[in-house]
């Protein structure tokens, strides 16, 4: 079991009523509400949290990035990754991940990641994402080519990491005269790549075909089971048997010394008005061409307010009841985690511990309790249930390096 700590790094020091007044907390919600002095203080606190998480025994720090929104202060995940590469000693630095389509120059990304891997002495896990719809709009990247760019940038980065330069790249979305960066990852054949996502079928299939672990981002248990069904079927079709080492899960879990305190803090998971990526117009989250054409009809109805949010806007109480938000004392949350482990069998578990306006002291308490009281038990159970991480299972970095395939590797392409 690989156990990680995650925070969205909320910019909690703005007046949330301003977002409600404006009707959105993303993309066009003015950055006049951003206070750099508070930002500086918060960055310091988040760094303190990460370093403490390493001290109390987590295996990895999960990082991500978003743009034009208060819910996540990381505009470039590689910057925090670089900081952690120097400031920590043992934890994996898990990017979940770099939004590939946003890169105009994937070689540059390959260089940055290689530097992080070397500086951290081989502790990088280089996850990749498509980036949310809003990210495309915030950065001016064409949403209609999002998936094409994701796949091509991935192929280019992997080639850059595994084939010595110089070589030339003449792709559809990327062209490079001379690919020959003088920075290569320390880990061979290349750093592990994990793919976070929700329920986008295309991404699940793509990850399974690559044999990259898929990290389900706080999906419900039934949704998560559907994800693993599709992943497992795809894996079987390309010639391998997937298991816990292919499965990750991000859970929202806040623990405190008392239930009362935990519930009070866990309510902050609703800080973004119940939306993971802020209150936003549906067409920002799903610009035309970004999402699967199979969902077009349902989406357009949602976008004009005729259909309910597909996520359903569950209340805090509902999310607590069905385990989408876990909170309480360590003793109280452990059975729910056990249930999650039994039902979905992940080898990677990321804990999103704090969101919104949780005090630094309570955030640190949460991290301490996770490290000292929750994770040791989770590790025991993982052993009992056979939930090995990709590291423990010594899984191949990708299908190209697998030695156990029942079909030739070409079938995966």
């Amino acid at each position: 079991m690989h156990l990680m700590y995650f925070t969205e790094q909320p910019m909690s020091a703005y007046d949330a009523t301003e977002g409600l007044k404006y009707g959105a907390t993303a993309l066009t919600f003015s950055n006049k509400h951003f206070d750099p002095a508070a930002g500086s203080r918060l960055y310091g606190q988040y760094l303190e949290q990460y370093i403490y998480a390493e001290e109390v025994g987590v295996d990895g720090i999960m990082l991500n990035e978003h743009h034009n929104a208060p819910f996540c202060m990381q505009a470039k995940a590689n910057i925090f990754a670089a900081v952690l590469a120097g400031a920590t000693k043992r934890v994996k630095i898990v990017m979940l991940g770099n939004p590939l389509p946003l890169a105009e120059n994937p070689i540059r990304l390959a260089e940055e990641l290689a530097m992080i891997d070397m500086i951290s002495k081989g502790r990088l896990v280089s996850g990749f994402v498509r980036g949310g719809g809003q990210e495309q709009l915030a950065t001016g990247v064409n949403p209609a080519y999002n998936r094409e760019r994701f796949e091509e940038a991935h192929d280019l980065i992997v080639k850059t990491w595994t084939v010595h330069g110089p070589f030339r790249w003449e792709g559809t979305h990327y062209q490079h005269r001379v690919v020959n960066p003088w920075a290569l990852p320390l880990q061979k054949p290349y750093p592990r790549v994990w793919i976070p996502g929700v329920i986008s079928k295309e991404t699940i299939i793509w990850a399974a075909r690559q044999r990259y672990p898929y990290i389900a981002l706080n999906t419900s248990i039934p949704q998560t089971k559907q994800i693993w069904k599709l992943y497992d079927e795809t894996a079987a079709a390309v010639g391998y048997t997937s298991g816990p080492e292919n499965r990750g899960y991000l859970a929202r879990i806040h623990v405190a010394e008392t239930e009362e305190k935990a519930v009070q803090n866990a309510k902050q998971f609703m800080w973004m008005q119940g939306e993971f990526t802020g209150l936003a117009h549906p067409v920002w989250a799903n610009p035309s061409g970004y999402f699967s054409p199979s969902g077009r009809r349902n989406f357009v109805e949602f976008a004009v307010g005729r259909a309910k949010n597909p996520r359903g806007n569950p209340t805090f109480e509902e999310q607590r009841a069905d385990g989408m938000i876990m909170c309480g004392t360590p003793k109280q949350v452990l059975p729910r985690i056990r249930h999650l482990l039994e039902e979905t069998r992940p080898g990677i578990l990321a804990v999103w511990g704090n969101d919104g306006n949780v005090s630094q002291q309570d955030s640190m308490t949460c991290i301490r309790l996770l490290g000292q009281e929750v994770f040791p038990q989770v590790r025991e159970w993982a052993k009992e249930l056979g939930l090995d991480s990709p590291f423990e299972a010594d899984a191949p970095v990708s299908i190209a390096y697998a030695k156990d395939l029942t079909r030739p590797v070409a079938a995966a392409e």
Partner: protein, 258 residues
């Protein structure tokens, strides 16, 4: 009642669907970014005195998407090929909004070949003042409504609550706009430099209440095209053909007949 016929032409590895009616000089109508209304009053009027050919842009309406297409200029070349396939020389081009950009591109490609050029609030060049409304950050209905000064006219054309089929068509249309006109959004940096060689007499029509393409753009078109005149239509939004169809049809028919 005008009888519109449907057909399709294979071209550039794809198929372009055509809606056509009328007899007279050939007029190619290039529809706007949110698609076109077959049998609109404007088209019906136009078909009284001309052979009106309305291709569905590749990826819009009944024409399949051409996956390879990357620019509005590609679309203009496709429609040029279409004219060649149809054996039409010296067509009049009538471009509506986004279609006006395509028409302007087509005119620059064979400057002597276009009989008459009519640009109705065309996109395609950077407005000297203001910006072209970005549909990426507004809903389908809000964008379509922004094309109308008189919202009752919108209700008459699309219904107060447009159908799900219409919303889907708008989403598909929007995706195509992104595919070929994402950045710079809805204009070309090179087109203004090429417009100077267009020989066709040009009519530019613009609603004075256009919220999609600022009226300031009209002045730049008029200044750049050698033989252009501007008609500003009062109390009218971007979709002149849908908001004041009779007025526009009259202007266009007499301009083409001249």
């Amino acid at each position: 009642m005008v009888a519109w016929t449907e057909s399709a032409i294979a071209i550039a590895g794809t198929k372009v669907h055509l809606t056509r009616a009328g007899k007279g000089p050939p007029v190619l109508v290039l529809h706007r970014d949110i698609g076109m209304i077959v049998g609109s009053h404007f088209l019906d009027e136009l078909a009284q005195s001309a052979e009106v050919i309305v291709p569905h842009h590749a990826g819009w309406g009944r024409s399949p998407r051409a996956e390879w297409m990357r620019s509005v200029r590609d679309m203009a070349v496709l429609h040029r090929g279409l004219l060649a396939e149809l054996g039409i020389e010296r067509a009049a081009l009538v471009g509506l909004g986004f279609g006006g950009w395509i028409a302007a591109e087509m005119a620059t490609m064979a400057p002597r070949d276009v009989a008459k050029l009519v640009l109705v609030a065309p996109m395609g060049i950077k407005p000297p003042e203001g910006d072209i409304l970005d549909q990426a950050i507004v809903s389908y209905i809000d964008y379509a409504r922004a094309g109308f000064h008189d919202q009752n006219k919108f209700n008459n054309v699309y219904g107060a609550e447009p159908s799900t089929d219409q919303l889907e068509a708008w989403d598909i249309a929007r995706e195509m706009c992104f595919r070929i006109a994402w950045k710079p959004y809805m204009y070309s940096q090179t087109l203004p430099h090429l417009l100077g060689s267009v020989k066709a007499p040009t009519l530019i029509a613009w609603g004075d209440k256009d919220r999609i393409v600022p009226l300031s753009t009209a002045k730049r078109y008029v200044a750049t095209l050698p033989d252009a005149k501007l008609e500003v239509i009062e109390n009218c939004g971007h979709c002149v053909d849908l908001e004041q169809p009779g007025r526009l049809a009259g202007l266009v028919s007499s301009f083409i007949a001249r």
